[in-house]
C-alpha cells in the first residue's frame, strides 16, 4: 500500500469515527512513514551492495 493510499483510507476512517482532530496528525505521520520507507530502502540497497562480491574485472 502506498503512503498516499494509506493516508486517504486513514483520514476517511478517522472522519467516519468523528476524529477530525486526527486529520493533521495523520498527515504528519504520512510524511514520517514516507521518510521511514525511504530509509528502509536505502538500508536495503546498502546491505545488498555490501553483500555483493566485487567484480574480478572491476
Amino acid at each position: 500500500m502506498t503512503v498516499e493510499t494509506w493516508l486517504a483510507a486513514a483520514q476517511q476512517d478517522a472522519e467516519k469515527r468523528g476524529l477530525r482532530e486526527l486529520l493533521p496528525l495523520l498527515e504528519t505521520l504520512g510524511r514520517s512513514t514516507a521518510a521511514l520507507r525511504a530509509a528502509d530502502e536505502e538500508h536495503r540497497r546498502r546491505a545488498e551492495r555490501d553483500a555483493t562480491p566485487p567484480s574480478p574485472h572491476a
Binding site: M1, E21, L29, S32, T33, A35, L36
Partner: protein
Amino acid sequence: MTPDLRRIEDVAPLVRAGAVSPVDLVRACLAQIEARPSVNAFISVLKDSALEAAATAERDIRAGRYHGPLHGIPIAIKDLVDVAGTRTTAASAVPSSESAVDAPVVRRLRNAGAIIVGKTNLHEFAFGTTSDESAFGAVRNPLDESRSAGGSSGGSAAALASGMCFGALGTDTGGSIRIPSAACGTFGLKPTIGEISCDGVVPLGVSLDHVGPMARSVGDLALLYQAMKGSASGWAVDRSERFVFGVPRSYFFDVLEAGTREAVTGASAALAAAGHEVKDVQIDHAEWTPHVYLHTVLAEAAWYHAPLLEQHASSYSPGVRVRLEMGRYVLGEDYVRAGRLREALRHAVNRALESCDALLLPALPIPAPRLGAATVLVGDRQEPVRALMLRLTQLFNVTGHPAIALPARWSPDALPRGLQLVGSFNQTPRLLEIAASAEPQICGGPGSVGGGTG
C-alpha cells in the same frame, strides 16, 4: 523555608552516625511539598506511612541494623509505577485500581531502606514531554513556574529540584527521565534496556521503556541504581582516570539553541583542560531516528491502550487521546521497517563508541519551554516543541544504550542546560564512573542543582 538540597552521598553518613534523623529528613521533604503546592509535583503524598517508616528506620539504625546508604532517605516514585496500597493513576482520569504489591523495583528500594514520601505527577500515561497534560494539573518548573518541568517524569524532577525528596524513580521511553532532568537542572540515568525490570510499570512502548533513577548528583544516581538492581551498596570512584569523549555533531547540533551550544563548548573545553580527550565522532543515519521512534512508540502504545480507548476514550486528555488514536493507523509493515532500522542504528552507535569511552551531547536542544507552547524559536525558525524535546534523547531508547543527563554549569540565563553522556551497551556502571569523573568539569561539582552559574 530553605529546601534541603543536600546529596544522598553527603546525608547518608550522617544518618548512619545518628547525626541526622530520618524523621527530620521526611518532615523537611513534607514541609517543602506543602510550601510549594503550585509546583504540583505530587499526585499523592504518603505522609503517615513515610513518617512511620522513618521512625522505624531511626530505631533500626540506632540498634545497629543499618541497611546501607539509602536507609532512612526519602524518595519519590513516579505515579506510573505500582506502590502497594496506592492507585497507579498514570496522571489520568481513566479509572485505575489500587496496587496490592510493590513493583519489583520499588520493593528493592524499600529493601535498601528508602522511604517513599509520595507519587509524583507526570505527563498522562507518560505520553508527552511537557507534563502539562495531566488529570491532576500541569507540573510547573520550580525554577520558573511559567515553564514546563519537562516530561514525562516532570514531577520527579521538579520534586528533586525543590527539595521535596532526595532521590526519585522515573521512566524513560523516549527521554522521559533525561528531558525533565535537563529542564529542572537535576541528574537522571536511563540504564541499558532491560537491565531493570519494568514489571509493575504502566507501559508506553514495551520495547522502548526503561526505569531509572533521578537525583542531585552522579553518585546519588549510582546509589539508587545499585539498589534498583538489588546489588551491593557502596559507591567509590577514581576521579583521576582520564577518558575519551566523542561528540556527535551531525544531526545532534543541527537544531540547537545558542545557550545549549555554548554549554557543550564549555564542557568540552573544561574536560580537555582536565586531561580528558574530546573529539568529534559520527553516528551514521541518526536522522532516521524520529521516524523509527515514532512508528515504534505509536504502534506499541496503541497495543496497550486499545481496550482502554474502547471504554474510556473521553477520560483521556484530548492531546494524549488523539496521539494514541494515531497509533492505531500504523501499518504492520512499517512497524517491521522501524524494527529493521533499529538494528542499523544500534550498530551505528556501537561503531561511534568504538573510538571513545562515552558520547557527549546535549540532552535537550532548548531550555525548559513555556507551559502550553506548541512551538519555540530556535535561531530564526519556529520549531515544534514536542519534536524538539525528544530529538536528542530518543535514539538511545531505540538502541538501548545507557545514558545520563546532567546539568551543565554554563547558562546565559537562570535556566539550566542539560547535557548527556552515553555509554556502551550493558556498561551502565562504567558510564556512571565516567560521568562521576566528568561531573566536576561539566557541572561544577556538588551543589549545582537548579541551574547554571552563568
